[in-house]
């Protein structure tokens, strides 16, 4: 029998991606988390009643912090249920009984979550920029009114100070880092869910990984600077660093919020690290999933 089968098909992956995205957007948990994030960002406007520098800083802090937590949570919760649900419903058997390689199935699922994360982040970023812009215009208007008697130079100085504290383009680099971190967590969750028996187990493991991932850099630096750190401690730390993602590497976003200018090379290195982790975890998930009896 002649074959028309293609070993790799973007259209098959796209079909699974679209299907996964449809599934996820129809989950109520998604809307609850989205509302949570939107309320948080919105409320920061009313909570910040300090000087405009402090107000802008708090607004950036709260908004990007909320985006980071929300997308990380969403990545873990949304991904954890995908494979166990398909296994329980036996939809995975129906899908893989078609000429669909298991790798494409996993990749389609992961891309579905990644699309969801991207859509959520775009929505939150738009809201954040709108809120920030509104506050900036209000402060500019108030300043112009208050300094109506000042000279042109004095007024320009004041307005420039306000603009200098407003949104800079590198805030979008921060959003990109949040996206990468969430995508990495989604890939790792997908890997864990290929051998987990329940999605609760996956979520618990991922919460632990999240904390270890954030703390491991500090622990490593502390232990390795101790003179007593022997080869056992070093080997252990090397294994931890290999298994758990170094999530502290994605704390660039905090520096951006604090006003630091991040060199392009540092940003590119972080992005590369994120992509590296995603590829590794997806390959590991594929390896486990190929051995799975369905």
């Amino acid at each position: 029998m002649e074959t028309q089968h293609r070993p790799f098909s973007p259209s098959r992956i796209l079909a699974i991606t679209a299907n996964t995205l449809t599934d996820l957007t129809r989950q109520k948990v998604f809307y609850v988390l989205l509302i949570f994030a939107l309320v948080l960002i919105g409320s920061s406007v009313f909570l910040a009643r300090f000087s405009f520098q402090q107000e802008f800083q708090i607004l950036k802090d709260v908004s990007l912090g909320a985006m980071s937590i929300f997308t990380s949570l969403l990545a873990i919760v949304a991904t954890a249920r995908l494979i166990p649900q398909d296994l329980e419903d036996r939809t995975v058997s129906t899908i893989l009984a078609k000429p669909v390689p298991r790798f494409e199935y996993l990749l389609g699922k992961l891309l579905g979550v990644v699309c969801l994360l991207a859509i959520s982040l775009v929505a939150m970023t738009l809201l954040f920029v709108m809120v920030f812009h509104t506050r900036e215009q209000t402060v500019l208007g108030e300043t112009m009114r208050q300094m109506s008697g000042a000279t042109h130079e004095q007024l320009q100085d004041a307005l420039n100070t306000i603009r200098a504290n407003a949104l800079r383009r590198d805030i979008f680099e921060g959003v990109a880092v949040i996206f990468l971190k969430a995508s990495l967590l989604a890939a790792l969750t997908l890997f864990v869910s290929t051998f987990a028996t329940t999605n609760i187990f996956t979520i618990v493991v991922m919460v632990a990984v999240y904390f270890i991932g954030h703390l491991q850099t500090t622990a490593r630096e502390y232990w390795l600077t101790q003179e007593s750190a022997g080869w056992i401690a070093k080997t252990f730390l090397a294994i931890v660093a290999l298994i758990f993602p170094d999530l502290q590497a994605f704390s660039l976003v905090d520096e951006i919020v604090a006003g630091a200018v991040i060199p392009l090379a540092v940003f590119a290195k972080t992005a590369l690290l994120g992509v590296f982790y995603i590829v590794i975890y997806t390959l590991a998930a594929t390896f486990v999933f190929y051995g799975k009896e369905l």
Partner: protein, 281 residues
Amino acid sequence: MTDPAVAVENLTKVFPVPFRRQPIVAVRDLNLRVEPGEVYGLLGPNGSGKTTTLKIILGLVSPTRGQTKIFGRNSTLVESREAVGFLPENPYFHRFLTGKETLRFFGKLCGMNGSRLDDRVRELLALVGLANAAHQRLSTYSKGMLQRIGLAQALINEPQLVVLDEPTAGVDPAGSRDIRDLIVDLKRRGITVLLSPHLLSQVQEICDRIGILAKGKLVCEGRLEELIAVENRSELVLENATDTLLKEIEKLAANSNAKVIERRTSTTTLERLFLDATKDE
């Protein structure tokens, strides 16, 4: 020589059980062939290895020993499933999709798109009697409707082999009869059907050959009419026969050293009675 639609060669599947010395042997040294165009029934009690065998044939479970082939291609190859349709036992599908979206999704997985896919979806929805429910979400479908959409997705890629695991489980007699008719229609079109039915009466109606599994071993296989025939007995069905005529026949039989074993009034089947009683409802 054409390849068999399904070839199972020396197949053994052992499932290791954690913390137990004795693993479970689901299938042992199984050999069977399903020829193109025939309807083959794989029977057996619960736990006899039917579903495991079907899953190995479909590449969903890997064999411990031996191999399975679909039209000459090893089941471990993804392309072996190019010409296969599968309806799992109690299918659930994605309940957030409508009937039409479900078929489009499975069609895309088989590399179909555009007007070819649209036409095929429309054709199949009509074939399984779900044209009016095409835009309803599967979460609102009844068990019988889910089974029918399941059958439609199995046929989306115009397969040469259809594998059905308990296709009428949980379906009412009318739905069951519809599915039986669809299988007969597949056979008429030359499509090979491998099924694991739970209703033996249906096996008798539609299967060309059967294999019976018990504890993972094939204990009986062959053409259905040969397996169930009682060699030294014949049946004669009469209409409007008088008592005198029947007595005459019995006398004739006795004179020829034959014996009338049973004499009874003909009955219809319970299924026929149910269908006739509910057809206008």
